[in-house]
């Protein structure tokens, strides 16, 4: 089922919660709606579900305009952050509830419920009440209830946010695998960019009610169109500092007081001679080099955060804090003086006024 948002807008009184969002989710695609809280992503999802009706624009499932179709006639399944199971019904009753309302014959209903329960690994919990289940089990039941209707579209509203870190990890993979197997068009709302990156075919980044970008995770990561995307996508987040880019004949530098690094000509050219611009560089693109090596800048270790596989090290460079990922066991201590190399082919540049990328327009 192709889902299309066409100039989709939602206003609550004077507040614009979703502002002319345009996007098309392909059949069988897994799309993440990513953004900080209050950015309008859940409102967008609830409009797709039919809970809110749009103030402007259109939602289409296939060719059919859905704006005024009530939720029960949309054939969608939805999974909520709070699980939203019916506490007074058993797991079995929860799962068959949608089919009961559709008046599915009893034998089919029973068969499908057990099938889904087995798939979700909750076959032995059918007689329990939701209150007797753990968070992970409840979320499986909620998923089962959404799937049992054989929906055309699956909607997820931060389904993993209430689970502990370890469970989130496994559920993430399970949901992705399940979606791949079933091939159901899915829209997944999250504020966790790791979830969006790992699960989605494409990510729609929202900020301040607007759609900022709608692209593959790799594209968003390597070619962030705005400062916001650069900072929001990727973990640990991108470092930013104000610099001036100068140079000519293929030899470009980004400078600020006590700071001077070379940048690739292709990138430097687009950012040069514009006065102050914002340099963005990911922590994995900052590395420690030998003292006095050409193109390196001096920095002081501010904090060391060992993460097992590697260390996240905070530096104070030219009066700015920035992070670098180094190999574990780097032996760095707080206060150490080091030299840092910035990968010249990975530097991003943004216009400080418009917050748009200077490289990817």
């Amino acid at each position: 089922m192709i889902v299309t948002f066409d100039n989709l807008t939602k206003r609550f009184g004077d507040v614009v919660a979703v502002d002319t969002v345009n996007m098309q989710v392909q059949d069988g695609e897994f799309v993440a709606l990513l953004g900080p809280s209050g950015c309008g992503k859940t409102t967008t999802l609830l409009m797709a579900a039919g809970i809110y009706s749009p103030s402007g624009g259109e939602i289409r499932f296939g060719d059919k305009i859905m704006n005024n179709v009530p939720p029960k006639d949309r054939n969608i399944g939805m999974v909520f952050q709070s699980y939203a199971l019916y506490p007074h019904m058993t797991v079995y009753e929860n799962i068959v509830f949608p089919m009961k309302l559709k008046k599915v014959p009893k034998s089919t209903m029973d068969e499908r419920a057990r099938q889904v329960a087995d798939k979700m690994g909750i076959g032995d919990l059918l007689d329990r009440k939701p209150g007797q289940l753990s968070g992970g089990q409840q979320q499986r039941v909620a998923l089962g209830r959404a799937l049992v209707k054989q929906p055309d579209v699956l909607l997820f509203d931060e389904p993993l946010s209430n689970l502990d870190a370890r469970l989130r990890y496994t559920m993430r993979a399970e949901i992705k695998r399940l979606q791949f197997e079933l091939g159901i068009t899915s829209i997944y709302v999250t504020h966790d960019q790791v979830e969006a990156m790992t699960m989605a075919d494409r990510i729609a980044v929202m900020q301040d009610s607007q759609l900022q970008a709608f692209d593959t995770p790799a594209e968003l990561y390597d070619r962030p169109r705005t400062l916001f995307i650069g900072g929001f996508v990727g973990n640990p987040p991108m470092n930013f500092m104000d610099v001036e880019v100068t140079g000519q004949s293929g030899n470009f530098q980004a400078r600020r007081p006590n700071f001077n690094i070379p940048v690739a000509a292709q990138r430097g050219r687009k950012a040069s001679d514009r006065g102050e611009v914002v340099l963005g560089i990911r922590p994995e693109d900052v590395s420690i080099c030998a003292p006095d090596e050409a193109g390196c800048v001096a920095g002081e270790v501010y904090v060391v955060e060992p993460m097992g596989r590697d260390d996240l090290v905070g530096f104070l460079v030219a009066d700015t804090h920035l992070y670098a990922l180094t190999n574990a066991g780097s032996g760095l201590k707080i206060g150490d003086q080091v030299a840092l190399r910035f990968n010249p082919d990975k530097a991003q540049f943004f216009d400080p006024k418009t917050a748009r990328s200077l490289l990817w327009e």
Binding site: L46, G50, Q138
Partner: protein, 299 residues
């Protein structure tokens, strides 16, 4: 409750217990006196005495109204019907209105909530004359006025009319309480039900109402008791004795002219109290919930 909650030592609990006991004694003694005096000719303090003032004098004479004044059974039935229909009416209207006020945004919602509270603050005695005119007007309506069996109708001097007025007076509290319970139900559950294929009405009936069962029970109990004990409205608007209820009957025993037999008054009072006490014993748990609010569920 949780044993770990009592942090203080046992000795520290003694003082509050003593204070609470001292404060409670007069009330408890009052209840004991009622009980004792209903079975005694006279009482001396808490001791039953006979007409000469000697200990003894136990008698069932005070309870004789049960067989000598058979109208008491008719009045009990009336009271029961009043309390039951009052409860049903209040539950029906306030659960629907409370849901709408909690969940649906419509013009005038805030004003409605505000005025409901103000109306609740009016003492019903100030409304008596106005209500009288309303009931007189309803009496003129064909069938509804006074053509309904047993209830009489909904007009003046009918049980139905008293029920109608009582429902109206109980509603503000009921609506606010129910709204509070509905407010505690998560939106997501309702959304899930809508997506699963429910209509709005079905969501209310099949998903939300079961979740606030403790609230419904608590409101039902309170309303029933207030209907059972109702005095002012039945006393004012029911002038025929066989139409009346227990509380006005009790008032009738305290006549201004004839000597009052307090033992009989106590017996009738106790008789009226029995259902309430039984109710309380079985429903305390739900009553406490009305202050806790909301559902205790798995979510």
């Amino acid at each position: 409750m949780d044993e770990n909650m009592g942090v203080g030592k046992r000795g520290q609990e003694v003082l509050p217990m003593i204070v609470l006991t001292l404060v409670t004694i007069p009330i408890v003694v009052g209840y004991i006196w009622i009980f004792v005096s209903t079975f005694a000719q006279r009482t001396y303090g808490l001791m039953p005495v006979d007409s000469n003032g000697d200990p003894g004098g136990l008698t069932l004479a005070n309870w004789s109204f049960l067989w000598e004044d058979p109208i008491i059974w008719r009045l009990t039935l009336n009271t029961f019907v009043l309390a039951t229909l009052l409860t049903l009416g209040v539950l029906l209207v306030s659960s629907l209105a409370g849901y709408a006020l909690s969940r649906i945004s419509f013009p005038g919602r805030k004003i409605f909530l505000g005025t409901t509270l103000i109306l609740h603050a009016f003492p019903s005695v100030t409304l008596l004359i106005a209500i009288y005119f309303v009931l007189r007007w309803i009496t003129g309506v064909p069938v509804l006025g006074r053509g309904i069996p047993f209830l009489g109708g909904f007009g003046y001097n009918t049980l139905g009319g008293v029920i109608l007025v009582s429902v109206a007076l109980e509603l503000p509290l009921g609506i606010w309480l129910m709204k509070g319970f509905f407010d505690n139900i998560s939106w997501d559950i309702e959304r899930a039900a809508l997506i699963d294929g429910c209509t709005r009405f079905r969501v209310w009936w099949q998903i939300v109402m079961p979740l606030i069962r403790p609230g419904i029970a608590a409101l039902a109990i309170f309303t029933f008791i207030s209907g059972w004990n109702a005095f002012l409205i039945p006393y004012t608007f029911l002038t025929k004795e066989e139409l009346s209820t227990l509380a006005p009957y009790l008032r009738g025993l305290l006549s201004d002219t004839a000597p009052v037999s307090y033992s009989t008054v106590a017996a009738v009072g106790l008789f009226q109290l029995i259902p309430v006490i039984v109710f309380f014993i079985f429903t305390q748990e739900y009553l406490l919930n009305i202050f806790g609010g909301g559902s205790k569920g798995g979510v």
